[in-house]
């Protein structure tokens, strides 16, 4: 049943006769396209044409369309064109194909490259404004809902908040501890390696202590949380949006911000300071270990130096920043999640945007806090 297709042509008295034979099916699609393209070139010179179908063994929509296209080509040139000796069982398929592709396709004109670059720039600028608005809107929504919950504390979803606290806090602990520990080790190692050249070994402890407690501890943890938990929030809320779960909540009279977003953001605000605290401890521990094994400084001296070098102020500076960073990560993640549209692509795009934007904002916030603490002398 699987025969190589062919399109034989004979010309007699200004009449072009094609005879289609073999399997006109998708299995021979490339050969068929070539045959029909070659056949179409012959159409030009005759007054009438016909396609003899008696030899066709198999026919499917691809074959039928190609034959129909050949017929149309003849008719476009004002010729009589039709099928002859058409087996009855192919008739309905050819009738089906005769009805399609009647409208000429409207092709959109391609635009000037310069104009489309300008167009892009304009859209991005407007999009930037929309980004800020979305952030501010989510922030406002969250504040109003929190105020409402303060008035009616029973509306707070305690179990949901604890569940999210477990996910973003407790379950994040091992990886946060590991990474901050390694960061502490690396800083101490680099410190010993370079400070030793001018005999300033003892000051490595000052550097590790201040750097970790004031800046690095909270910054590393916030960036990790943005990548780990912020992205999860965006993807969750985004897929809920795609499956109309959020619309379902709304029609049942629930406020998605109250049900979904407040517990998530609050869980982050609680978890991030805790993670920062333990992360900083792990980094200091890592620094101490390197000081002992690589720098030859005994643990007792390390702890004594640390006690002299750092004060509770350094610790406070780091910890005060943590809940604010958590708030920024949570608000960005949730607002991006709710902006997901129908497609899988938009979910990916929003998740990426969420992580990039929250890491960026965390660093900006850190800079703002640095200026603030410097001016109040902390």
């Amino acid at each position: 049943m699987n025969l190589e297709p062919a399109l034989n042509s004979t010309i007699s008295a200004e009449r072009l006769e094609f005879a289609a034979v073999g399997s006109w099916t998708i299995a021979h699609s490339e050969a068929l396209e070539r045959l029909v393209d070659a056949g179409a070139l012959q159409v030009a010179n005759t007054r009438s044409m016909a396609i003899d179908m008696a030899g066709v063994q198999e026919l499917d929509t691809l074959g039928a369309w190609l034959l129909e296209r050949l017929i149309r080509r003849g008719r476009e040139r004002g010729q009589d064109a039709d099928f002859t000796r058409l087996p009855e069982h192919y008739r309905s398929l050819l009738d089906e194909v005769r009805a399609v592709n009647r409208q000429p396709r409207i092709l959109r004109a391609r635009r000037n490259r310069f104009i489309s670059a300008l167009d892009n720039l304009g859209r991005t600028t407007v999009g930037f404004k929309r980004d800020i608005l979305a952030f501010v809107e989510m922030f406002g929504d969250l504040s109003v809902t929190l105020a409402r919950i303060l008035v009616h504390p029973l509306r707070f979803r305690f179990i949901s908040a604890v569940h999210h606290l477990n996910r973003v806090g407790w379950q994040a602990m091992p990886i946060v501890l590991l990474i901050t520990f390694l960061i502490g080790c690396i800083i101490a190692q680099q410190g010993f390696f370079h400070f030793r050249k001018f005999g300033a070994d003892a000051y490595v402890v000052d550097m590790v202590g201040i750097l970790v407690l004031r800046e690095l501890g909270v910054l590393i943890v916030a960036i990790m949380v943005a990548g780990r938990s912020g992205s999860a929030y965006t993807a969750e809320l985004g897929s809920m949006k795609m499956r109309e779960e959020i619309d379902a909540l709304r029609t049942m009279g629930f406020d998605p911000v109250e049900v979904l977003i407040v517990p998530r953001v609050l869980a982050l605000v609680v978890a991030l300071p805790i993670l920062t605290f333990f992360g900083s401890l792990a980094a200091l521990y890592g620094g101490g270990l390197v000081a002992w094994l690589y720098g030859g400084m005994s643990p007792e001296i390390y702890i004594a130096r640390l006690r002299e070098a750092i004060s509770v102020t350094h610790f406070q500076v780091g910890m005060i920043k943590a809940p604010f960073m958590a708030l920024v990560i949570g608000v960005v993640a949730c607002s991006e999640g709710l902006r997901v549209k129908g497609s899988a692509e938009s979910l990916g795009l929003r998740t990426t945007t969420s992580v990039v934007k929250s890491i960026f904002l965390v660093i900006v916030l850190d800079g703002v806090f640095a200026i603030f603490f410097a001016s109040i002398g902390m």
Partner: protein, 259 residues
Amino acid sequence: MDSSSEPMAIRVRDLVVGFGDQVVLDHLSLDVRRGEIMGLVGASGGGKSVLLRTIIGLLPKRAGSIEVLGIGLDRTSPHNAPTIGRRWGVLFQQGALFSSLTARQNVQFPMRENLHLSDKLLDELATAKLEMVGLTDEDGDKFPAELSGGMTKRVGLARALALDPEIVFLDEPTSGLDPIAAGAFDTLIKTLQRTLGLTVFMVTHDLQSLHMVCDRTAALADGKIVAVGPIGALLASDHPWVKSYFQGERGRALTHPLN
């Protein structure tokens, strides 16, 4: 059964499928002949979709054998999976369109991956398929998120038919369509089956579809096929579940529309 003499599109023997402790399909056997439209009915959650998904290889089976177009799927390595994928088309319940591609690109996707045709022909074929399932050329430029439920199904069918397959699997093709659209869909499936010699295996709850298009219907209950045959034979069946399915209020309304 003289299954050896007649060419079978699908042969399922002693199929067992389960999840954990739960056995969904229990030594199920079923034959679908070439060129017929086979309807599958069963209770919601009774394993209809599980059977379909097992046949097309999306779910693992515990025991039994499945042959599609004479190819045993146990021996199907990932290497010849594409070959069989070209010979069947699947319409999923929710359409399962690729959301980042337009309707036209969705239909073109299997053709573009498997065939080497000119862009012009690909465009024409995609439009032809879309128009055959009752959509317009402009619909082709829409993204799945912009399509209604019925249109999604139609695009899904157009994509399932893109490579002119020998078997089409339809998972509840008419659910969620209005009666007119469902009727048109039935007619379309019947026309395609007749013109292309298609074998159709459809899971459905639509009694009207069973009457209008299915050559044979199989009833799935308690993890087994309890009755197979033309709809008339099923109406006469003694099996309690089949009886209640077809003799219930809704079933009767269709078989005796004037009473």
